[in-house]
């Protein structure tokens, strides 16, 4: 029944995230014909960083694969998944307002409490990473395009593993603080700081967001094994720290 409790505590965040991402994925695919029509109107001579970004987006959009990666995997999905990873990691986990003492009075070890909570959140994050993206190959024929299922699964896997770092960070913070707001705000601040830092990083190997979008796979066709292993190691370490922290914490 701990699973049921975890589900009740996170279901609205999860369901809202799923609905938003499903709409966003469908919107991305269905907007492609309109994007193609607008491509000729992109001004060729805009200077500066803005110009570079506009030209890059336009170049990517000339192929359907590039458009999907740029607008969905790199932009909408990455941003939304980061937000919902943090939200799922912090959802009322043993907060002092949410029946914490009652939970702690049950004959359940704290390790199991964190384990069930983490497993529920990761399962929801997995669904958010994979299910909306599966709409891309499903809906692509409706706009006269095709998108490989294999690519979808690889991008989703990259996103899930990288986003699990943010989830684990939020979970760890929620074992440190007794309220809901501080873990949420600190984890969001860290996610934002990483996004800002990402603008200055040259190598995608060291960028959480580039790993999340599967940029290496998109550009080279190779899986970013180093980044995936590093993210997995960080995520596992943060989960272990959350268990250790909760085991030692006084209520």
């Amino acid at each position: 029944m701990l699973w049921y409790k975890s589900w009740l505590e996170t279901r609205w965040r999860f369901l809202i995230g799923l609905a938003l991402l499903l709409c966003s994925a469908a919107g991305a695919v269905l907007s492609y014909p309109q994007v193609l029509k607008l491509l000729p109107q992109v001004p060729p001579n805009v200077d500066g960083l803005l110009g570079v970004k506009i030209r890059e987006a336009a170049d990517l959009a000339r192929s359907y694969r590039g458009f999907v990666w740029s607008s969905w995997f790199r932009q909408n999905l990455t941003q939304a998944a980061s937000l919902f990873a943090v939200l799922l990691g912090t959802a009322s986990f043993l907060s002092l307002e949410g029946g914490a003492l009652f939970t702690l009075s049950l004959p359940v070890s704290r390790r199991r409490l964190v384990g069930v909570r983490a497993a529920t959140g990761l399962a929801e994050l997995f669904v958010l990473a994979f299910v909306p993206s599966l709409l891309i190959p499903l809906l692509s024929p409706s706009v006269g395009e095709r998108y490989a299922l294999g690519s979808t699964l690889i991008h989703s896997a990259c996103l899930f593993i990288a986003a699990s770092v943010l989830f684990a960070l939020a979970l760890l913070l929620s074992t440190v603080f007794g309220d809901v707001w501080r873990p949420l705000l600190i984890a969001l601040a860290v996610a934002f700081a990483l996004a800002v830092a990402d603008q200055f990083l040259r190598s995608p190997a060291f960028s959480l967001y580039r790993l999340m979008s599967g940029e290496t796979y998109f550009r080279t066709g190779r899986l970013p094994w180093g980044g995936l292993l590093a993210a997995t190691a960080v995520s596992v370490s943060l989960h272990a720290a959350a268990i250790a922290r909760l085991t030692r914490r006084d209520f």
Binding site: G98, L101, F102, S105, L106, P107, S109, D250
Partner: protein
């Protein structure tokens, strides 16, 4: 008031707990024998809730040891075993606001192999708890009753209640206490409940422990404690002398005009024999109420 109960259900030895340098418990020794209803009295901040949290493994002692059913409370494995055999009602009755009454019952029952379905049905009816209502929509009184139901039905050997009637109106508080007394009367169990409502402790407890500044200052059977505590009043012809009493258990000596009052926790006999040496006009021994015992046992800054 030393006591050596056999096989205590709860035992703490020199228990200390500090939070950020502030000492909540300062060498607490407790012994709660099996089958007793033990009232754990103390003013706010005396260390009652901290003690309960340590017994249930929610907080770890800084020093000393707490054992429940003979098992150390600070170890994760034994703490889980303790919680399996213990029903708990917290001061805030902080149940899951988003669950219905029926969901709360199903959820809690899933952790206890000895869950009592018969009692569940009985208390749902007796407390008139609406099964489909969300916990957040329950009054404090109803939430307390639900928390009691969840504690009663666990098939527990020990009930730990932290201020069970806090914030309840007198009618609901009485209802809750009656339910507790009836339940404990029917089931073989030990009850350890904290309170600063002396009347309710007097009503249901057969044993009391008074804690002050993190230490146990009075402990024992309620009747024994009542017998041990008394007030010896001496009236003199002139001003009462400034006397020092060496009898064991003297808690307080007060001079007021011609009257010298001694509060003793060690019986009246030795105080009276010392008093006679002062040649008062009269000596009267007055038994103390539990409220007076409580106040007499607290530190001087009360």
């Amino acid at each position: 008031m030393a006591e050596q109960p056999e096989q205590p259900i709860i035992a703490t030895t020199a228990l200390r707990k500090s939070y950020d340098g502030v000492e909540a418990l300062r060498g607490l020794d407790l012994h709660v024998p099996a089958g007793s209803i033990c009232g754990f009295l103390g003013r706010n901040g005396a260390g009652k809730t901290t003690t309960i949290k340590i017994l249930l493994g929610m907080a770890r002692p800084t020093q000393g040891e707490a054992r429940v059913f003979g098992l150390p409370a600070h170890l994760p494995q034994t703490s889980t075993e303790i919680r399996l055999r213990t029903g708990f009602v917290g001061e805030e009755k902080d149940l899951y606001r988003y669950m219905t009454v029926a969901e709360m019952v199903r959820f809690t029952a899933s952790f206890y192999p000895r869950w009592r379905r018969d009692l569940e049905q009985r208390y749902l009816r007796r407390f008139e708890l609406p099964a489909e209502r969300k916990v957040k929509a329950l009054s404090r009184g109803m939430r307390t009753k639900l928390a009691l139901l969840l504690a009663f039905c666990r098939g527990a050997e020990l009930l730990i209640l932290d201020e069970p009637t806090a914030g309840l109106d007198p009618a609901v508080a009485e209802d809750v206490l009656q339910a507790l007394v009836t339940h404990v009367g029917a089931e073989a169990m030990t009850v350890f409940f904290s309170s600063h409502h002396i009347a309710e402790v007097e009503q249901i407890a057969d044993r009391i422990i008074i804690i002050d500044h993190g230490r146990s200052v009075v402990a024992g059977e309620l009747d024994d404690v009542r017998q041990a505590f008394c007030r010896v009043e001496m009236v003199f012809d002139g001003d009462a002398p400034a006397a020092v009493f060496r009898a064991p258990g003297v808690a307080r000596v007060r001079r007021s005009g011609r009257v010298l009052t001694v509060v003793s926790g060690g019986g009246a006999e030795e105080v009276v024999s010392e008093a006679q040496a002062l040649h008062p006009k009269s000596i009267e021994v007055v038994p103390l109420t539990l409220k007076e015992i409580f106040l007499a046992s607290l530190a001087e800054e009360v």
